[in-house]
Amino acid sequence: MENQQNIDSGSYLNMELLRFTTAGSVDDGKSTLIGRLLYDSKSIFEDQYEAIEESSKRKGEEHVNLAHLTDGLRAEREQGITIDVAYRYFATPKRKFIIADTPGHIQYTRNMVTGASTANLAIVLVDARKGMVEQTSRHSFIASLLGIPHVVYCINKMDLVDYSEETFNKIKEDIQNFSAKLETKDIHFIPISALNGDNVVHKSENMPWYEGTTLMYLLENIHIASDHNHRDCRFPVQYVIRPQSKELHDYRGYAGRIAGGIFKAGDEVKVLPSGKTSKIKSIDTFDGSVEEAFAPMSVTITLEDEVDISRGDMIVRENNQPEVVADFDVMLCWMNDKGLMPSGKYYIRNTSNEARCMVTEIKYKVDINTLHRIEDDKNISMNDIARVSLKTTKPLFVDRYSRNRNTGSIILIDEATNETVAAGMIV
């Protein structure tokens, strides 16, 4: 348990959080890789280990199958499938990690999009024997669409291709050629064997030709501080705090989580949609006022002037404003059994803002395996990705998704069932 014992009070208070998603299907060793990361980082407890030892035995498996660590609900165990995104946690002395573990079968797109929406990094598993397959392009496309800043391709099962450098380089080249069409800026390739642990946590002795880092080293050291937008000041008002007490009778604080930029006390600001201007009087927290605040901090802002502000409004800087739009295009991922109703009406949510909307035009669907546009089929059903035009009942304050994942994202809610039926990235 050396890793965990190293996490003393001092270093633990100085750790960063990295959220990553793992994409892969049943056979490419995703569960084994996660099991390996947890096991080799000593994040597995005895009772958990005993439980998987037990289920490995019961299933007649020779070795303790680390993949069982990620077994979930009984319904899933019975069917041998994964229903949904599962979240897992581990920490090393350097970072705390949240894994959004998404299954690889049907409903795949819906789940991967969900897992990807909050991730800093995506691990895409590629079977070294098969090389780049349709699924690899699908995963790459979704990672790019959801704006995941870093993608790590783990070329797995290197032990089954004699740890061949040539095989690795060929796959790497294929993926690089394909990725040139995508938006992801930071791409890495690591040859691994999740089963044997090569280059996962420990450097492989079987691949002396590989000069890069292990997966764990990359996860611990990749630069993530710039993943938030610190340029464009966006403060969606979430809740208005009015203490109503004698001492604080006139206190009006605007509570929210900063969606972009750096706000400072004394800043001239503008409130949308009213367009009123004022100055930041203070940025308050329970632990005292702060001079400046940045994404993703949750704070309470007070203004010098009395301005009428409510949930859904946005505080911004006068010289850097979001787009105020009621007609716009999004890349939509459909997530419900019931397909998109032509000219159907939905609730739309963007930051803390809510309106009603209708889909006015379906421009094209994307074949996520080939990236081709499909223009002659306008039926949008579960797991489809399409570019559509929306019209909202009131203006929203948005940025392009590629510029800001907080202000550039929307969800659609079915008015009859209240279910979240789609996620959208503003283009």
Binding site: M1, Q4, Q5, I7, D8, S9, L13, N14, M15, E16, L17, F45, D47, A51, D71, G72, L73, R74, I83, D84, A86, Y87, R88, Y89, A91, R95, R110, N111, T114, S117, T118, A225, H228, H230, Q238, Y239, I241, P243, S245, A255, R257, I262, F286, D287, F294, P296, M297, S298, T300, Y347, N350, S352, R405, N406, S409, I411, N418, E419, T420, A423
Partner: protein, 301 residues
Amino acid sequence: MQKYSLTHLKELESEAIYVLREVAAQFERPALLFSGGKDSIVVAHLARKAFYPAAIPFPLVHIDTGHNFPETITFRDEFVKKIGAQLIVGSVQQSIDEGKVVEEQGLNASRNKLQTVTLLDTIEQNKFDACMGGARRDEEKARAKERFFSHRDAFGQWDPKNQRPELWNIFNGKKHMGEHFRVFPISNWTEMDVWQYILSENIEIPSIYLAHERNVFNRDGVWMDVNDIILRKDNETPVKKIVRFRTIGDMTCTGAVESTADTLEKVIQEVAAARTTERGTRADDKRSEAAMEDRKKEGYF
């Protein structure tokens, strides 16, 4: 650490505060389920932060099995007074007296499962539309798939196959009459995070989390409290041990561990070196491989 980046604890804190505010904004009658355990204490602390300088805009609700550790109840009452919150108690004893539930019999009898009925009754009586709790995804595998905003039907049931997708930080709390939500602001925290946060924020917790001398007996490798409620077999002899509790639930299903960790710092060292999960001392999870999943489907926390 770079200037414009947060430590993981600060980021988790910010996320939890965001969720708490979202609940206050999206629901009419929210409540915070408060057990007196460390996780719900942390959520209550975060709620103070979220609405500061105003008071917490919802009541704390305790489902009292009547079999709580006396230390927990004392702590609960002092805590509520200190932070000036409103407390609502739902009593399992009352549910038993009213004949709504039947007490389990025998050696391993526990009121843990009965709580679900009292909880659902309390929700209905007070017309709560969202109940926040301190459950974490790292606790148990049925919890690993739980949402921040977890939709429950009119019977309080959780349907794992029919959960709303949750993307970015946009939460959908829309519901029909009679339905409600369970909300888990510290979903992404681990046991270690909770302890580190308690230490760094100097949060008070019930004394039984720290090592103390106690009369206990051993059952299936777990040290159980000696009291009038838990029946003992003849060979289950009481002994004095230095123990502490890793979780605080109902006395009948919460075991202690042998430990000399009598300060928070020592507890953290112990958690870091621990070889079993904290729910390893919970008899309620040991009933079957899917015990938690089944209880959640019925409407458990």
